[in-house]
C-alpha cells in the first residue's frame, strides 16, 4: 500500500509532513523541554481543527474553540501517549470536549439549517413527479437527522465524516473502546441513511 506520493498531493496549499520530518509524538516529547517545539504541532493541525469546529459550531465560535484546544493541548502535553505518532485524534478529542460545552449553540445551528430547507417535501409531492432536492434541502434533512442523534453517536459520526478520522482514531479521540465507537457509528449511519430517504409520514 503506497503512501500518497508528494506530487500526487501538489494541489495542497502546503505539505504537512514528509517521512523525514519528526512525528507529532516526537515534537510533543521535545516540547516538554523546549516549549516552542509545540508550534510545529500547531501549524500542522490548526486549520483542520478550526475547520471542524466551524462546521459544528459556526465560524463565530471557531476561533475561540480552536484556540483553546491548542492551549489545553499544550498544558496536557506531558500526558500525551508518545506511542501515537499522529496527534490529530488527541486534538480532536480535546476539541470535541470543548464543543460539547457549546451544545446549545450546536443544536441551534442544526435547527436553523433544518428549518432553512423545511419546505422541500411539502409541495410537488404527487406521485410520479420526481423532484430534485436541492443542496439546501438536503442539508436541512441532514441537520434534522443530526439533531435526532444522541450526542455521543453524533460525535463519532462527525469525527469520521468531517474530521476524516478512522474509526480507531475516533475511538481514541473520545477515549472509548473501538467496539463502542463502532456501534455508535453504525447507529448514527443507519439513522442518517433513513433521514436521507426523506420519510415524510407524520409530518404536519
Amino acid at each position: 500500500m503506497a503512501q500518497p506520493s508528494a506530487n500526487s498531493l501538489q494541489e495542497q496549499p502546503k505539505v504537512l509532513a514528509t517521512p523525514d520530518e519528526p512525528s507529532d509524538a516526537v515534537l510533543i516529547e521535545r516540547s516538554l523541554r523546549r516549549p516552542e517545539r509545540f508550534e510545529v504541532v500547531f501549524d500542522r493541525h490548526f486549520d483542520a481543527i478550526h475547520g471542524y469546529v466551524a462546521r459544528r459550531l459556526g465560524r463565530g465560535l471557531a476561533d475561540d474553540v480552536a484556540s483553546e484546544t491548542f492551549l489545553i493541548a499544550f498544558d496536557c502535553r506531558a500526558r500525551y501517549e508518545l506511542g501515537q505518532p499522529d496527534a490529530a485524534p488527541w486534538l480532536y478529542g480535546i476539541a470535541s470536549n470543548l464543543i460539547a460545552r457549546h451544545r446549545r449553540a450546536e443544536v441551534r445551528r442544526y435547527r436553523a439549517l433544518a428549518r432553512a430547507g423545511g419546505e422541500d417535501t411539502v409541495e410537488g409531492h404527487s406521485e410520479g413527479v420526481a423532484r430534485r432536492l436541492d443542496a439546501q434541502a438536503l442539508r436541512a434533512r441532514l441537520a434534522a437527522a443530526l439533531l435526532d442523534l444522541k450526542a455521543r453517536d453524533r460525535e463519532v459520526l462527525l469525527l469520521v465524516a468531517w474530521a476524516q478520522l478512522s474509526l480507531e482514531e475516533a475511538a481514541r479521540a473520545l477515549g472509548v473502546p473501538a467496539g463502542t465507537a463502532r456501534s455508535r457509528l453504525h447507529r448514527a449511519r443507519a439513522k442518517t441513511r433513513l433521514a436521507l430517504a426523506g420519510e415524510t409520514k407524520g409530518e404536519s
Binding site: 500547531f42 466551524a54 476561533d63 484556540s67
Partner: protein, 313 residues
C-alpha cells in the same frame, strides 16, 4: 451511496481560518508556553480527554460487552443465496477491468430517493489514491477537497474514505479477506449480530463506493457467503427485477442491488424491516415514525474512471 460522503458534501468546505486569527492564536500559544504556571490563562484541565472519558469508557464498555454472545462461526447462508453469491463472484472474475492510476478519479453518478419522495441526482468523484473527493456544490461550482496526509501516519488505515489503491491492496483470498474485515471492525470474530452487520457494511461500502479489481470483487462475494445474516432476495426497482444482497441489523436491512443477468452492481438500498420510532424530539422536517417496508435506494447510473475531478466520461 454512502451517507458519510453525503454528509461531507452537504456542508460547505470550511474556509481556512483568516491569517490574523492564526497569528493571534500562535501568539497566545507562545505567550502561554513561556508564562509561569500561575499566570496561565487557562487552568489545567486534566480531566479533559482523561478522567471523564475514561469513566465514560468504562461504563460504556460494560454495557456494550454485555451481550454475552459466544463466538459462532456459523457457516452462513442458505444454499440458494450462496449460489447467487458464487455466480456473482464468477461474473466478477470475468469483468473486463482496467485499474485506475493513482492520480485518476472514479466518477459515480446516482439517483437517490425512494418510491415516495423526490429524487436527487448526485455526481461525485473520488481520487483513486484516496487523496481527495470532489462534487459540484449548490451554485454549480466544482469543489475539490484534498485529504491531507498526516504527520507520522502509517500508510492510510482502511476507513470509510479509503481510496481504490488501499482497497486494491487487500487480500484476494476470501477467507483471508473475511478475517481482515472482522479484524477491522472488531477483534472478535463472530461476536454478536452487530459485528456481522459491520463486516457486511465494510464489504458493501467497497462494492458501492469504488471500482474493484476482478479478483477482489469475487473474493468479496465469496467472503459474504461466510458472514452470518447475509441473505439474497429479489425486488423490483423501476420495473426491473434485481437481486438484493443484504444484511439485517435491528430494524434496517442494508442491501446491495445486483443485476440478475450480469451481476453488475446497480445500486444500494435500505429497507425498514419493522416499524420504528426514530425519536419524538423533532425539529425541521424529519419524522418520528418509519414503517416496515419503507425503502430508500441509490441507483447507480454511471461508474467511470476519468482524469480530472469534475470531468464526465
Amino acid at each position: 451511496m454512502n451517507e458519510l460522503d453525503i454528509l461531507r458534501d452537504a456542508w460547505p468546505v470550511p474556509e481556512p481560518p483568516p491569517e490574523r486569527a492564526r497569528e493571534r492564536v500562535r501568539a497566545d500559544l507562545l505567550a502561554h508556553s513561556t508564562a509561569r504556571p500561575r499566570r496561565r490563562r487557562f487552568p489545567r484541565r486534566a480531566a479533559i480527554g482523561g478522567v471523564a472519558t475514561a469513566i465514560a469508557a468504562g461504563l460504556v464498555a460494560v454495557q456494550n460487552l454485555g451481550d454475552g454472545r459466544s463466538p459462532s462461526p456459523v457457516p452462513a447462508i442458505p444454499v440458494a443465496s450462496a449460489a447467487v453469491l458464487e455466480a456473482a463472484a464468477r461474473a466478477a472474475e470475468d469483468d473486463p477491468f482496467t485499474a485506475p492510476r493513482a492520480d485518476q478519479w472514479i466518477y459515480m453518478k446516482e439517483d437517490f430517493g425512494s418510491d415516495e419522495v423526490p429524487e436527487m441526482r448526485q455526481e461525485r468523484w473520488r481520487r483513486a489514491d484516496g487523496g481527495g473527493v470532489a462534487f459540484y456544490d449548490e451554485s454549480g461550482r466544482l469543489q475539490v477537497e484534498m485529504l491531507r496526509p498526516r504527520a507520522g501516519r502509517k500508510p492510510v488505515p482502511f476507513g470509510p474514505l479509503a481510496g481504490y489503491q488501499q482497497i486494491a491492496a487487500l487480500p484476494t483470498d476470501p477467507d483471508e479477506l473475511r478475517r481482515w474485515a472482522y479484524d477491522l471492525t472488531d477483534d472478535i470474530e463472530g461476536a454478536g449480530s452487530t459485528g456481522h452487520a459491520e463486516v457486511y457494511s465494510v464489504f458493501e461500502g467497497m462494492v458501492s463506493d469504488n471500482v474493484l479489481p476482478p479478483d477482489l470483487k469475487a473474493a468479496i462475494f465469496r467472503a459474504l457467503k461466510q458472514v452470518p445474516g447475509v441473505t439474497v432476495d429479489t425486488v423490483e426497482v423501476n420495473g426491473r427485477r434485481v437481486y438484493t444482497l443484504g444484511h439485517t441489523d435491528d430494524w434496517l436491512r442494508q442491501e446491495l442491488l445486483l443485476d440478475t443477468e450480469s451481476y453488475d452492481y446497480v445500486g444500494q438500498s435500505g429497507t425498514v424491516v419493522r416499524d420504528t420510532t426514530i425519536t419524538p424530539e423533532k425539529a425541521g422536517n424529519s419524522t418520528g415514525e418509519i414503517k416496515a417496508g419503507d425503502r430508500a435506494a441509490a441507483m447507480r447510473l454511471v461508474t467511470a474512471v476519468v482524469d480530472e475531478p469534475g470531468q464526465r466520461p
